[in-house]
Every structure is written in structure tokens, then in C-alpha cells.
Subunit: 413 residues, 4 copies
């Protein structure tokens, strides 16, 4: 029998920025017996989750649900809209933007990788990894593309490697201002269902997302929300595709079925997640994450450590990156915290390796679990010999105590 905890008692604190802590309700829903994916019961499930997920993306257009993890949905967005050699403009917000750029290159797409060119005070080599997408850079680049060779602009909504949530509406405005026909493709893998996102209103053509972040599911299914222009583009896109092809899926989804075997038990979990998120109300969910994030940042500020996101306007409601003092190996710190306090934090990725760690504040959390996270980090920092300006735990507690959650409570039973 599988035993996964290395600590003898108590629940592990999974405070990485995804997979997020999965609510018991969802874990239990996923343990329902698998049913016939061609039977009548399945259509009820399929239609329910397809309709619910549209509400999550705030779209009236089709959302494709893949029986594949988020990386597959990244690939799907590219394969369905582009042809070999097509030019695409991507923006370097961090490690995941870089990985998506690398994937596009690997698939034979000609990418151009825009970045902010300034120099950062705390992390000299951080480049644009502490800021959001600068829409004006995109606009300027598109204006130069007089031949309209650029087929798509790809940006990351909530950059999981840094804790920066870019302004997607501004990117759409920049494209329109440049009068450019490029598609807008957005990775909101870690933003969806935690940070405000509006697929239709913001004019996104393809939104890529996954199950294991704001939707609080285990990893394993992922999404492409489409626009009519994206669907149109897919008709002439020439990159080879079959498993990820939208056309057959969108067609069969009309009756609640999939052309091949879907990930049935994760769809059970999705059904439960939709009940939970839509039952609470998306705006309430967004406000809840904003409040949590503010409480956690209050703690980091009290410590006197720099937050990875250098621009308060684009602080992520989902996670907070913290830069460790020079000479303090962030990964050694994470290891110490994991061993002593059964708390998992996110590592610094790519060029940030060893210089920062990430605290997730998403999924099945509440005030006390987040206070506990801040406490675990604070104990670890002290044990690692880091001098702190003040008590982060106290600041986080003060924030939560001073800002009551505005949410209506659920009734018992």
C-alpha cells in the first residue's frame, strides 16, 4: 500500500503554486466508479462540465477539455492555429513563458521572444522576470510588422515562476491599437479560477489552462478555450495534429461525448470543482485570493525580504515569490523547511534557481493554513540564520484579523 508522508502525523502543507491542495470533496468525487464513456449517464456528466467550464473562462465559445496535462494544452494551442515556419511573438515573463517559447521552436515555429530590457536592483540578472507584460512593447513590435507576418501573440497571464499577473486586456488593446490581425493566445494555467480572467471580454483567441491550480483538481486534464477566429484559423493550420485536433472534439462535445476515451474520473472531480467554484461565485473566489495574497505579502514585507514581483500593480493573487538574501541558498532553505515542518514550497526556476522560493496561496486553503505557511517559512528562515526585520507571522495575522472575509458563509448541512 502506498504511503506518501515522510512525517509521522498530520497533513502535509502543500504550498507550492500548484498542484494546489485538493479538497476532500473533490478527492472523494474522483473515487466514484468509472462509467461507460459511451453510455447515457456520461452525456449528463459531459454536458455539465462543458457548460460549467465555459462559465469559468467567461466564454460563450467552445472549451476543449483534453485528457492530458497542461503542457499538452500548450502544444494544442500552437498545433491547431499555426503552420510550420509561422512567425509568433512571445513575451518573456519568466520560466514558463520561456518553456512555451522553447516548445514552439521545437515544433518548427519561428518565435520572437520580447522582454523588458531594464536592469533589476535585487537580482541583476532577473531581466524581465520581475515584471508583467509591457503591452506597449508588443504594440510597437506589431506596428513594425507591416507585412502582418506575425500570426499570433503569446503571453502568460499568471507567471507561476515569479508571481506576476499580467494585464491581458492591455495586450488585446495593444494588438488592436496596432491594427494587427495576430491571434492572442494566453497561458492562464495558474491564473484560471483564482485570478480575474475574461476570455471573451478581453478578446483572447486561445486560452490554455489546466486542472491542478485554481480548479483544485489533481493534474491530468487541461483546457483550450477558443474564439471564433481561433476556430477559423484552425481550418488552415498545417502543423500535424490528431490527438489535439479541435475539430472532432468540438463536434462530438455537442452531445456530451468525446471522440476518444476522456479522463472520466478527473471529469468527476471537475464536476465537483465547478459546483464549488461556481457555487461560491467567481467574484468571491477572486476576492478571496486577493485577500489571501495581501495577507501573505504583509508577512514577507515584515520580514524585509523583497518580493519577486517588483511591480505592485501586477502582484499575483495566486502565489508570492520571495528573494532570499545573497548567500542564502533558497533550495537549501526549502529542504530544511520541508524536513522540519512538512511544508513544500516552490523552487526558483531557471535563472532564479537558488535565489528565490515561491509560496502558493491557492486551492483548499484558509486563513489558518496560510498563517501556518508563513510561520513555517519564518521558522526556517531563522534556523537558516537569515536576519529578519520583523515578524512576518504577526503581520499576516494582523492582516487577516483586520480584514474579515467578506464572504457569505455556507449553511450547514
Amino acid at each position: 500500500m502506498l504511503q506518501l508522508d515522510i512525517h509521522p502525523t498530520g497533513r502535509h502543507f502543500l504550498q507550492i503554486p500548484g498542484p494546489s491542495p485538493v479538497p476532500d470533496r473533490i478527492l472523494r468525487a474522483m473515487s466514484l466508479p468509472t462509467i461507460d464513456h459511451r453510455g447515457p449517464e456520461f452525456a449528463g456528466l459531459g454536458l455539465k462540465v462543458l457548460s460549467g467550464i465555459q462559465q469559468i473562462f467567461k466564454t460563450k465559445h467552445p472549451v476543449v477539455i483534453y485528457p492530458a496535462s497542461g503542457t499538452g494544452a500548450w502544444e494544442a494551442a500552437l498545433l491547431n492555429t499555426l503552420s510550420p515556419g509561422d512567425h509568433v511573438l512571445m513575451y518573456e515573463t519568466g520560466h514558463f513563458a520561456s518553456l512555451w517559447n522553447k516548445m514552439a521552436t521545437k515544433l518548427g515555429i519561428a518565435t520572437e521572444f520580447l522582454a523588458w530590457e531594464g536592469r533589476d536592483e535585487h537580482l541583476p540578472n532577473a531581466g524581465s522576470w520581475r515584471r508583467g507584460v509591457q503591452a506597449e512593447l508588443i504594440e510597437a513590435r506589431l506596428r513594425k510588422d507591416t507585412e502582418k507576418k506575425i500570426k499570433a501573440v503569446c503571453v502568460v497571464h499568471n507567471e507561476t515562476s515569479t508571481g506576476v499577473t499580467s494585464d491581458i486586456a492591455a495586450v488585446r488593446q495593444a494588438i488592436d491599437a496596432a491594427g494587427h490581425p495576430a491571434l492572442l493566445m494566453v497561458d492562464s494555467i495558474s491564473g484560471l479560477a483564482s485570478a480575474d480572467f475574461r476570455h471573451d471580454e478581453w478578446g483572447v483567441d486561445v486560452t490554455v489552462s489546466g486542472s491542478q491550480k485554481g480548479l483544485m483538481l489533481p493534474p491530468g486534464i487541461s483546457f483550450n478555450a477558443l474564439s471564433p477566429r481561433a476556430l477559423e484559423a484552425s481550418k488552415s493550420a498545417k502543423l500535424p495534429r490528431a490527438f489535439f485536433d479541435w475539430a472532432e472534439i468540438v463536434e462530438m462535445n455537442k452531445t456530451g461525448y468525446w471522440p476518444y476515451t476522456p479522463s472520466t474520473n478527473l471529469l468527476y472531480g471537475l464536476s465537483e470543482a465547478l459546483d464549488m467554484v461556481l457555487g461560491e461565485g467567481l467574484e468571491n473566489v477572486f476576492a478571496r485570493h486577493q485577500r489571501w495574497a495581501a495577507g501573505v505579502r504583509a508577512g514577507v514585507n515584515a520580514w524585509g525580504l523583497p518580493i519577486q514581483c517588483a511591480d505592485p500593480a501586477v502582484y499575483s493573487p495566486v502565489l508570492t515569490g520571495v528573494i532570499t538574501p545573497e548567500g542564502v541558498d533558497a533550495d537549501a532553505l526549502r529542504k530544511l523547511i520541508h524536513e522540519r515542518f512538512d511544508l513544500s514550497l516552490g523552487t526558483g526556476l531557471g535563472k532564479l534557481k537558488g535565489r528565490m522560493f515561491r509560496m502558493g496561496h491557492l486551492g483548499d486553503s484558509n486563513d489558518l493554513t496560510l498563517v501556518a505557511m508563513v510561520a513555517g517559512v519564518e521558522m526556517g528562515l531563522k534556523l537558516a540564520g537569515v536576519k529578519l526585520a520583523g515578524s512576518g507571522v504577526q503581520a499576516t495575522m494582523d492582516h487577516f484579523a483586520g480584514h474579515p472575509a467578506p464572504l457569505p458563509r455556507k449553511n450547514a448541512a
Copy 2:
């Protein structure tokens, strides 16, 4: 479908001194399909749990497992050993000792309820509810009983209403010093599997316990650990009994079965709990609770609030009672903490109502969940306008960070 949380997200903090937080392993084990209680598989289960529970009580003699909650096991201890009108000496450590005394009276037993007669500084009416059993009072009383009319001495090991863990070995020594034949009956409902307990070594005749505390199970099954003298006494005891009668159960248990239908799915949970507790090692379990209790008390001391247990020698490793300042209604405080922070605390019982609350540090907990509990209480105290001498959370964190858990870690997988 049953929905029990009134808060929209995150796990509830169940920090009452039992039922304790139940580990997922046990909840999952309890969800195995029910089997035939007369079939061959059942005997394997029955023999396993009967043998394992003996190790928990540290006894070589029979332990009776009832398909009934702890109150039933209290009654069982009395019914199997006593006859109508028998004299019994009980000791008033708190609310649960008082309830057991009341039950005995109701069953037609003549009880005498000993208590420490001093006057308490913080709670003038607390009487003996802030101290452990004074064995010398028992010895003195028994010496006076020259006719040996007293058939049994009944004491509570870990008084759940106050957070005091009495010295049971001293009670046995007192009885022996008085040369008295009375049986020693002990309630260790909330002590077993958290606080050191030794049925055989300490000469206990009947130990009463339940599932929902140190064993980390839901409530519903309970125990009588027996001595040969208790078994002998049961042969002549005259109080009417059938369901609780030891004889038939002890006889049938030899083959792993019960005379009537046992609580099968709670026995699944018990099997898992035994694997967990015995796998960790009882001495490690005791040390773990002592460390937790010290950390929580460090927090209470930093606040400057009195601990209910006035004698540090008998602090409970299982729970800590805290006396609120005059004028602060402890139950209003508990309500505020529950509503704001999804944290349940124990109420002040009986004569302590409104003047104290209880924090459990048992069950499926760890350093961070206990820090979170202290944080939740601290936020609540401040919101209730209580002046605190200092930060309890910081003190608890310092204790845990400064006292690494001495336990060997489990290996993954």
C-alpha cells in the same frame, strides 16, 4: 449530499480535546466494504485488533472492545464488577470524574466523591478541578475503611475537562499502602495512546477508554482492559447486564469473533490506527505529545494567561485549558474564533463554563497545525479585546523550532 463545512474553503481545524482530527489513512480504511462478521476473513481482523489493543494498554490480559461509545464503557466497568448498593470511592478531578460519579449513583452504587479542599487563586470555585488526584487522600480514606466496604477506587487518568494527567501508579501505591482490597478502575478515555499508560505495571483492574482521542478514530467503539482480579469480581457482581457482560465476549474473542455484531468498519479504522501508533512506537508517540504540549503551553504563558492545570507536574500532554480574564466570556470567544477562523476549541464544562477554553493537541496534528491553532486563538483574543502580555504564536514557534522532533522519519513509499 452531506456538506458540513460552513466555511467555503480549507480544512476545518478540529482542536477540541477529542474527537481528534482523524488521519486520512483511517478514514479511507473505514470506507472498505463491510464484511461478514461470522466469515473467515473477520477472524483475521478480530485477532489482529484484539492483540494490538493489548499492546496499546500494555496488558497481557483481555481487552473488551465494545460497539458502543466511551460512556458505554464507563457503565460496563461498573456493571461487571459491582452489585447494587456497593460502596465505591471516586475522586473529583473535574467534569468527567463528576459525570462518572453521577452515572454510578444512577446505577444504584453508593459513591463517595473525594476532592482536594484547597482554595484556588484564579478560579475561587475551581476546587480540585485544577489539580491531579491526591493519592494520599485516597490512602487516608481507605485506611479508615477497616471493614473493607469500599469495593473500588475510580479515578480519571487524563481529565479532559481540565487538562490534568494524574499519577495512576501513585494511586495503586496508596491502595496497597493501605492494605486495601479495593479494585482500581481508571478512565483513560482521553489519555490512552497519547499519554504514558501501563495497565499491568500500574496494577489497574479496569481501564476504560474510547476510540476518538489518542487512537485518532471517529467515536463509536470503546474499551475495557481487565485484570484477573476484575474478571474474578465479575463472577459475583450482581448489577444486571447483558450487552456489556464481559464473560461471553472474552470467551468468543479467543477465536477473533464477537457474540453479537461488532462495529466492523470502526474495527477497520482501529486496525489502521494500531498500524500507525505501534509502527511509530508508543514511547515516540508519548514524546511527540509532550513536545506538542510544551509548545502550546509556551504560547499560553507568553500571553500571560493562566493554564487551567495549576500543577506543572501533572500538565496534560493531550490538551491545555486556558483561563480567560474576568469579564471575558470564554464561549463568546470560542464562537468568534469559530466563525472567523474555522477553528473549534473545547468549551469550559460544568463549573468552569464561560471561564476557560480548551485547546487539543492530539490526533492527526503537526507543528504547523498547532502553530495555526495558537495563531487562531491569539487573533481571537485580540479581537475580543483581551490584553496579552506577549505573542503566544512567536513563543510556540520558538519552542518548536528550538526543539526538533526526535523522531526517526518514515521512508517514502
Copy 3:
């Protein structure tokens, strides 16, 4: 980790007449985290199950839910209504009636055990164990009790050891016809929620039941449904009682709580069971069991083996007892069937040992699981060398195919 199956694959067929197969919905509900039995969420749960269980018993009066198995509820019925030495009239329908009689004797009650005096053709020593309660015998006996010394009449509704469902309304009529004030106490442990039962309409004073039969829960909680006369009688009843005492429980239940720790996780299961049973509708549930029973009996009749219940008017809808031919050890047959086909059957109890076995048709079953049960028994009978008149499986199939379930189906969702 607990592994209970001795067969490598597939679900065990638990076809004993209880514990019945537990639906996954209930097992999952029971795995919810335990909550504070004194907290506000608990009251919602408590009031829900207390109200729902009244509908199951068809009563407007209190139903006491014990955190104890059914044997405890038997004892509770006697302790709350009777005094030492009271005279009680019981009726011998089979093994469980005999055990209840034995328990009453053990508790100091003077019982008289009525039985049908005829001689059975198939089982010469079966006595009254193949027939229902003969209400006229009760009436005759009560008429003789001119001093009204008999305080209660105790009968079993659905005798689990034989598969006979007695006419309880007729017993009430008999008592009334005799103009006798005796209380009517009924064991419907295996009848409730499967066979028609009406506590108020039939004038029952105490109905005893349990969780692990028609309610499809694991064993561990049990019930006493009361009448105003029973409550009145409890005020003067003198048998010592505390754990089982109705008064304090009935009083506290008004707010949804219990005086001592209830069996929280089994109450979760009860909540789910009530949703299922009341959602389907009690009359539909009764009809479903009648249809199942008719199908199984068709199989037994086709084999040419005698059904334990000799009177078709009182065939049980819950289980069917089958008498094996002389020389065929029913327990050896059961063992063979268990080993070869992973199917558990009920044994012959008491005086029926070795001469009959029992097939349950209750709990989480359907047409195909019952056909499989009949098939497993038929294969076993043949392997044991029993000559069969014809194919029982075919007859059961013909019955089910020929009698479509009249139930409205649930909609998918």
C-alpha cells in the same frame, strides 16, 4: 494496510441477511472528517437524521439513536420500560427471539416464551421456527392474565434466523382484543426500511432496530422508536440504566445534540442513507424488496428445496432460508460456496444449525447481483452432490425478466 479479500479479483458477494452490502455513497459519506459534536454544524446533522429516522419508522414520536449496535438497543428497550422481576410475554419465532428472551432473563425479567406447538414435516424439531407470530395465542394468554401482571409483549417483526415476517398489526389487535395494558415491543432490526413497518399506526410502544440491514449502513448504531406510553412507563421503570436511558437523550435531541459523544461518522452514513431511502420512497423500497424476494424464491422452488418459512403469507422480503436435504451439511455447503465463488451466505442458527442456509436480498443489490447469488448457490449445490429438480437460476431470471421493476428511474446528473 488492511486487505480483506481472500479472492484475487472482483467484489465479494455479501449475501448474508445483514450486515447488508453498503452502497459506495454511504461508505464515502462515512469518510468525511469527524466534526465537533458540540459545534453548530453538528446540530444541522443531528436534527436532519432525527427527523428523517422518524419518517422511516413512520412515527411522530421520538426515536432514540444509540452509538451502540443492535443488541444494545434490545437491552435499552427492556431497561427503560421494566423493573426487576417484571413479567413479560415473548414469542419464539426463531433464534433472535430466543436471544432476546435470554437477554431479558439475564437482566432479571420473568419471561414467558410462547410458541406454536405443531410439528413440522421437513424439520421435525423446527417447532415454531418456520411460522410467524400466532396472534391468537398471545390474545389467549393475555386474557388469562386477569391481574395484568404481564407488563409487555415482545415479538420479532422480521425473524432474521428464519426469513419470516410476522403480522405486527395483528399482535396489537390481539392485545387490544384482550383488553390488556401490556406494552408492545417489537424487534424490527432486519425489517426496518426493507419490509413495511408502521410504528404509530400499528400501535407499537418500542421498536428496536439497527443500522446494518435495510438502512444499508455498517453496524454500530441502533434505534429505539418510542410511544407516549413507553415514555410514561420509563418514568417508573426500575432496572438500573444510564448509557441507555431515554430521558436525557430525548431531551437533548430537541436541539440536535446528544448528552454524550455520538457515533459521528455513522451518523454521516445515516444522513446519506435517509437521502437514498426517502428519496426513492419507502413504498417503492418495500415493493423492490418484495420483487427481489419473489425472484429468489422462484429459484429455490425450481430447485425443489423447501423454504424455511412454511407459510407463504409471512415470507420475508429481506431474506430466504433454504432447508438442505437430509445428509447435506448446510455449513459445509456454505464453506464450499464461499471458497469457490466468493459468496457469503447466512448460517443456520441455533436448532437449525447445519440444516439450512440463508440468502439475503437486501442492501445495495439489484437483479443481476441476486441472479449471481442464486447461480453461486446452484453451482455449490451441484458440486455438493445435491440433486436439483430444475434450474433455479433460470427461474429467477424468468421472474425478473417477466416482472419489470415498477420504479421510476433516477435521472442522471
Copy 4:
């Protein structure tokens, strides 16, 4: 809350040839909390399942586990080994072979689709859909390919649409006999862990499989077992790929991790499935399915209906296809059986639509569940007015009773 059953009670009979009935052990394992896929516990899980799955495929070479369903693994096999325009020889065994062929074409591969050219007696248009791969046709075709333009031979091991299990060793011998360098790629999605399969011994270069058949998991993860030649071929293969690319996965798997987020909770299930299948022993598992298949075929033969597989040498141990008499719509029959008996059967796919149905005998089944399936189908056939030569149920029972399972039983607990 999700409710999936349209019938009020009992477990659904999921007798399609996959997804197969999932054992409770696996469903429970999948409900463990999700962990950090970059943490130390994960490596233990990763290394365990990667090593175990090699034993299932009987290979010493890498097996890639995708967080994607089986269709994705089909695509992965093609993308990693082939370049645009490459020639591939595929063999038409049925619907799934046709779909794989269609996928290859869609990806820009030039396929040639071999088929047996005979004419079938029962289904004139069945073509090669009632027979296994004719290895001599492959050999003949390869001998003609003197320029060695054919890069790969693709065949289906267990054709799920028909119930035919082809001889893979013979295909390898045919390729070798022709002295041809083509890779051998095999779909054993529904064969693995039920039917004998030997990746290394049979010289397979890529075996494609999935989770939801013999491994008894829900759908959602899938596999590519590789050979050194396949890995070599992947270095020069030019079809664009990123998500499905072997290289990075195989490299990172050495430490138990994946380059992107794996499907953690399905890996929990896989870990449990490996414990079950390897614990029982692969040869025992194969024998068990052969015995089950023989029992079910005995039933079909007794009915006098033709089995879809026309060649007894290649009967599938996993499923049995049954041809309905002319004029009997197999899908109307399936619908009737589903509505009346809560039993799901596989539909006739592609050119077989309406003329056949498929009975699965895999996953968490046993003798009695399979007898129940045959009974459900038999009742349905009769209700649909189909004349049967004899009782299939009786024949299946006779087979199971007459052929005791040769397996050693597991010990309790």
C-alpha cells in the same frame, strides 16, 4: 453532488471491454492527497511505477508514461519514430486498427493498410474484422519492398472492436524472415496485463498501451514501451513533437521525475495496480482471463450465436464479440439490457455497427459477476425475441464450476 447511477440500487455492471471495472483498492489509492511532483516523496513513487511497469511489459528498456489517454500514446509512437511522408505498413484487424491508420494519415504519414481478402459467411462485409493478423501477408509485402521504404509495421495485439488477439511473435518472425529493417509497433491498449505480452522477447520496438483495461485504472495515463532501435530512430524522426517527445522524459525518469507535471493521482492508482497484478503474478493473471473467456464463450456457444472472432486460435481473453441474428439491432438490444438490468455492453463499431455487441471479461470481475453478465444478456436476448438454442447461463456456470480457478488464494489480513 455528482450522482451517476440511473438505477436506484446496486452496483452498475460495467462490462464494456474497457474502461474496466476499477477495484476499490485503486479508487481509494487515487483519493490520496496530491503531492509535490518535485518533492522527495515523489521520486519514490516515480521510480516504483517506472520499474513496475517494465515488468508488466516484460521489458528491460524504458517505458514512457504519459499524462494523456491512450490515443495520445498512439500518436506518440508515430511522432517519435517517423518523418513526414514516411511509408508505414498497417494491418486492418478492426475498428481500432482503422483509427490508428486514419491518425497516421492525418499526421502526414503514407500508410498502406493490409487486410485479409476472404469473404465471411456470417457478416458478408466483415472482411478481415473476424480474424487475426496474417503474418504471411506482411512477410510477402515486405519482401516486395526491396528499397526498404517501409519504415514501420503497425499492428494491433488485442483488437478491442472484435475480440481477436493476434500473434505478435509471428509478425516479428515475418519481418525478420523478409530481412526487412522496419520497426514493429504494436497497440496492446486492451491486451496488456490481461493477455500474454512480451515486449522484448517478441522484438517489439514500440508498444502502445493505456491504463483503463488490464491495469484496471480509470482512463487518463498511457504508455510507450521502447526498444533501443526505437530510441535510435527517434533521434532522426522529423515529425514535430514536444509534449510527446521521448528524449526528455526518458532522461528525467532516471531520477523518478518528469519534465512536466505528471498525472499524480493516476500514478497512485498505477502503484496500487502494480502491487495487485505483480502480486498475483502475470502468468496467473493471464490464466485467469483465459478461464473467464472460456466460460463466457461457453455461454455464447450455448445460445447458438456466432462469436465475432472466427478463428478459435485467436480468441481474445479480454472480450467476446457476439453477432446478433439478422434483423436484431444489437444497439437496441444493448439499450434494453442497460435499462432493465443496469448492465453496459460494448457497441459494434464502424462497419459492425448494429450487428454485434461486445462483452468484456476483464478488470475487477469474478465468476459470479461474469455469470451475472451472461444472465443479463440472456434475459435481454429473450426479451428482444431472439430464439436461443439453449441456456448460456447454464453453460457458463457449468464451465466455471467444472474448472476451478487454479490460483492460490490470498490470505486474509
